[in-house]
């Protein structure tokens, strides 16, 4: 069993911290049960469950730090892992950036656990696969998809008495549907904490519709277009940008948030006035643990307000060095938007491109966060408020900073997960002008 009840977790942590003879000791337990089902070519290809639980112990003698982990929990094992961490600490060079363990904190109780998700079993996963595959088979379409559900917990205690325990759940479903002849492809993704809000049989219709509608794509000239990025398409670019919201890099002059001549852009108008973004560990439907990796308490914090940069991520070391208050790192990314659906945004668009999904996004120039990537699985030309026809996929070269200075309108935000980031995000569909497509792709 990888999810320890609180009393059991606390008893282990107390014992571990008690064993330590170092100046400081922090012990952390993390456990999870992850289940998955994968399917392709309208057949289940793999299915499995992975249980994992780990105890990590970090100790410090002065500024020398040692870390060790173990996955056994008898008394001898617990003492052994502490001694091993202590031995490593004694061998380690001094870390000039060492920060002492955090003092006792008060954490919010955030609603990160849903019993329905924790109750997912093999039969449920098999049904998700069947609900995805059966309608595709019936419509001569081909499904390839993946469901992964997780129930986990984190508990920690340090020698100063700082303690936390919480459980969480999440479920992530993605499915790519292709026409049998390979000329059309559609995609759907649905990331939730509470699986009661998820229905594969409904979601699959989105991917099926896009697969059928995207066949016979026409080639448009690359160039600057008004685009509507669906939330999943926008999330890839936003997630990538947030990765570079580190204050230290900005203060060191090597970030798009560095200021010419020194310092960073805090307080400056970096984005268009429509852009407001915040982090909130208790955000309904997008809640995260109420502490960050360093044990600081997360709270609701503006990141961008009316386009102005309000907060960046400071490590404890860097906030101390800069004389800033210690603030927890962002746990989730919530963007404000409007009330319109993607369909509503299409209805008010004279000419533009609808982008369902973005793919293989990579940094081209960190100076401007210029990113490149491609559209895929449903790219359509819009004219006079209607989708006219599917278009061939594009490669884009665009900076999310420039993109968020060219906002026409935001729709209603939804929870999404980008391909390559685990961050919980709530992102609106976005209508943007002058989005830069630089070449065509023949890929379907």
């Amino acid at each position: 069993m990888s999810i320890l009840p609180e009393a059991q977790a606390k008893a282990i942590l107390t014992k571990v911290v008690g064993y330590s003879k170092a100046d400081e000791c922090t012990a952390q337990l993390t456990g999870s049960t992850r289940g998955n089902v994968r399917f392709a070519r309208n057949d289940v290809s793999t299915a499995g469950i992975t249980d994992d639980i780990q105890l990590a112990v970090q100790v410090a003698f002065g500024k020398r730090v040692g870390t060790a982990t173990i996955n056994q929990f008898d008394d001898a094992a617990l003492e052994r892992v502490v001694r091993r961490a202590e031995e490593l600490a004694k061998l380690a060079p001094e870390n000039p950036e060492f920060m002492p363990a955090v003092s006792p904190q008060t954490y919010l109780k955030t609603d990160t656990f849903s019993a329905s998700t924790a109750g997912i079993d093999a039969a449920y996963r098999a049904k998700v696969a069947t609900d995805s595959i059966a309608p595709c088979r019936a419509s001569k379409l081909v499904a390839a998809g993946y469901l992964e559900d997780e129930t986990g917990f984190t508990a920690f205690l340090n020698s100063k008495g700082n303690y936390g325990y919480q459980t969480l759940t999440s479920s992530d479903y993605t499915c790519t549907v292709r026409t049998e002849d390979g000329r059309g492809s559609g995609w759907v993704g649905h990331n939730v904490q509470d699986v009661a809000q998820f229905n594969a049989g409904e979601d699959i219709r989105v991917a099926m519709r896009k697969a059928s509608a995207s066949a016979d794509a026409k080639a448009l000239e690359p160039g600057k277009y008004t685009v509507i990025l669906e939330p999943a398409a926008a999330a890839g670019l936003i997630a990538f940008m947030m990765y570079f919201f580190d204050a230290r890099s900005a203060d060191e002059g090597r970030s798009f948030l560095s200021k010419k001549g020194g310092g960073n852009k805090l307080g400056e108008q970096v984005y268009g006035p429509q852009v407001t973004m915040f982090t909130d560990p208790a955000y309904p439907g997008g809640a995260v643990y109420p502490w960050d990796d360093e044990g600081l308490p997360r709270k609701k914090l503006p990141i961008i307000q009316g386009g102005k940069l309000m907060n960046m991520n400071y490590s404890r070391y860097w906030s101390q060095k800069q004389g800033k208050p210690e603030l927890a790192g962002f746990g989730n990314i919530i963007m404000e938007g409007g009330t319109k659906s993607t369909a509503d945004l299409i209805r008010t668009t004279e000419r533009g491109i609808l982008v369902s999904r973005t793919w293989y996004i990579r940094m081209v120039d960190p100076q401007t966060v210029l990113l490149t990537g491609l559209t895929r699985d449903g790219t359509f030309y819009i004219e006079n408020g209607q989708i006219k026809y599917p278009v061939k996929n594009f490669r884009f070269n665009e900076s999310p900073v420039i993109m968020l200075n060219n906002v026409e309108e935001f729709g209603k935000p939804v929870r999404v997960k980008s391909d390559e980031s685990g961050t919980v995000m709530v992102i609106p569909p976005m209508k943007l002008r002058d989005f830069t497509f630089t070449s065509l792709s023949d890929a379907v």
């Binding site: 499995g48 061998l91 499915c175 060191e252 002059g253 100076q367 490669r395």
Partner: protein
């Protein structure tokens, strides 16, 4: 896809309790020199196979793995983290009722592996009724009890931590003294102790070693607000610590004075060069976009080969098994049958699991198949894919290509990319000879930004260093270069490949594929190659 998360991991882990848990549990350094007794492994494997057969399996393979990794992570004058990790356990794969089943356990007891084997059989039987066709394995004869080890001179795991810290601190100091504003340097050392046994009668013990020493040097000009980085020109290798000896035999000085590295890397020399070149990049003029003849150094070309040849010629992608994640392939089966003109007649591309010093080199793959070298593209024509045992028949072949791999004991093995490399040109040609023939070109060294679509048609690549070529001469360093290709046009524009004296390997520790995602290490060799009339874009933008 080539993952981008490693340096991110390197940047974390200061002051907090952030561990590289993806790599297993943390252990003390002295435990890195241990190994599990081979007799114990055979006993466990037999217990698992007997249990599987009793439960109704028609085939069973057992992988007992001990995966060791060591990281030394530094920035400027600080050591940020030293971590040793270990992950040990047993993965059991079976065929029962014509379907695959898999289960894994971290308990190294006969009882635990026998139970896991029964679980694997139960999963296989549960999957069997929904299966369209039974699994068909290409025949393989057992090889008995054999062993193999990466040829190495110095076992990295046995080198004292202090020597590693001293090396990196020396590298960082040299870069800072040469004008770098910042430097991150990392040692990433891997030892996979892998035991494979199967009901075909194989008991294979392999000890695989890899090393990677990436650096990232940044220059900042506070007055202009500009910054540039230059990453190291080393390659991850299937070698021991001797790779870092900096031997003269491993060095090549290119016609523009840049030093590149083969089977020996001088980390300090490269860091000093990187510091100077990063500063030069800030002042270098911006490229004029247009069509250019590109001269690509092997330190760059490996990634283009990886993305535009290695991936599209993976049979599972061709068939659609990766459609929801890594994608499919433009190089469909009909193109194999018609020997599609993938590239010009200068383009010969081989898959090779034997190449010494490469990341993919092993004697047997994770299905116990003896590894080999085979053709993917010959004289520009598509002639092969990369396939494993249960795929070979689809391609009309009677044997696996020997390219199955699992990144841990707890993950199931599947088809992964072999070392895929561009063969050196047969005619004698140096880099200087090649450049002398270029009128209007760009010379690119080192890998940079990379992105390719899900069928591997449209790709865009950057680099570390760019030099303008005018009328056969290198004129100046330039910046803001990226080139965009359509895969078949690009390889058909290949106008020449330098001879074998210029052949070098590049590679990645982090080729990602599958759900749940697995990583794999792979090398790609080439000599400097020329591609005519390639579209180059200017990547400079202004944030106002």
């Amino acid at each position: 896809m080539h993952r981008r998360d490693f340096l991110a991991f390197g940047a974390a882990g200061v002051g907090g309790l952030v561990l590289p848990s993806m790599f297993g549990k943390v252990i003390a350094a002295e435990e890195l020199s241990n190994a599990i007794d081979v007799a114990l492994k055979k006993t466990l494997a037999d217990a698992a196979m007997n249990s599987a057969k009793s439960a109704g399996a028609t085939y069973c393979d057992v992988r007992i793995g001990r995966y060791l990794r060591q990281f030394v992570i530094t920035r400027e004058r600080n050591v940020e983290n030293i971590v040793n990790t270990e992950s040990t356990g047993v993965g059991i794969r079976v065929i029962a009722g014509g379907a695959w089943g898999f289960a894994a356990t971290n308990e190294l007891t006969k009882e635990a592996v026998a139970k896991a084997a029964m679980q694997a059989v139960a999963i296989a039987k549960a999957n069997a009724p929904g299966q369209s066709a039974p699994v068909q394995l290409a025949p393989a004869k057992g090889v008995g009890e054999v062993s193999w080890k990466t040829p190495l001179i110095k076992n990295s795991m046995a080198v004292p931590i202090k020597d590693k810290v001293d090396l990196l601190m020396g590298v960082n100091a040299a870069a800072l003294d040469a004008g770098a504003s910042f430097i991150r340097s990392i040692l990433f050392l891997v030892n996979e102790q892998k035991y494979f046994a199967s009901t075909d009668g194989s008991y294979i013990d392999q000890d695989v070693h890899r090393i990677w020493a990436p650096i990232e040097v940044t220059a900042v000009d506070k007055v202009s607000g500009k910054f540039r980085t230059r990453e190291g020109l080393s390659s991850p290798m299937g070698m021991g610590f001797e790779y870092l000896d900096g031997a003269a035999s491993g060095k090549t000085v290119l016609p523009n004075g840049v030093t590149v590295y083969g089977k020996s890397y001088d980390m300090k020399e490269d860091a000093i060069a990187a510091a100077k070149q990063a500063q030069a990049k800030i002042k270098a003029p911006s490229v004029k976009p247009g069509k250019y003849d590109l001269v690509l150094d092997p330190s760059h070309t490996w990634l283009t080969i990886h993305e535009s040849v290695g991936h599209p010629l993976e049979l599972d992608r061709v068939l659609g098994y990766e459609a929801n994640y890594a994608g499919t392939s433009f190089a469909t089966m009909d193109k194999l049958q018609s020997h599609f003109q993938y590239g010009s007649d200068k383009v010969n591309i081989v898959a090779d699991k034997l190449q010494p010093g490469s990341l993919g080199a092993v004697a047997y793959d994770d299905e116990g198949i003896k590894t080999k070298k085979w053709d993917l593209i010959r004289d520009g024509k598509l002639v092969g894919y990369q396939a494993i045992r249960d795929q070979a028949h689809i391609e009309g072949k009677t044997e696996s290509d020997g390219c199955a791999y699992a990144d841990s004991w707890s993950n199931v093995q599947f088809q992964r990319m072999a070392n895929v490399s561009l063969e050196a040109g047969k005619q004698k040609m140096s880099v200087a000879d090649m450049i002398a023939g270029v009128e209007d070109g760009i010379y690119i060294i080192g890998d940079g930004s990379f992105s390719i679509d899900q069928q591997r048609y449209n790709a865009q690549f950057g680099g570390q260093l760019f030099y303008e070529i005018k009328n056969g001469k290198i004129t100046q360093q330039i910046e803001d270069v990226a080139y965009q290709i359509r895969t078949p046009e690009f390889w058909n524009a290949c106008a020449g490949v330098c001879d074998a004296s210029d052949y070098r390997l590049g590679g990645s520790f982090f080729d990602g594929k599958g759900q749940p995602a697995q990583v794999s290490a792979v090398s790609h060799g080439s000599s400097t190659a020329r591609f005519n009339g390639i579209n180059v874009i200017n990547t400079a933008r202004s944030l106002g």
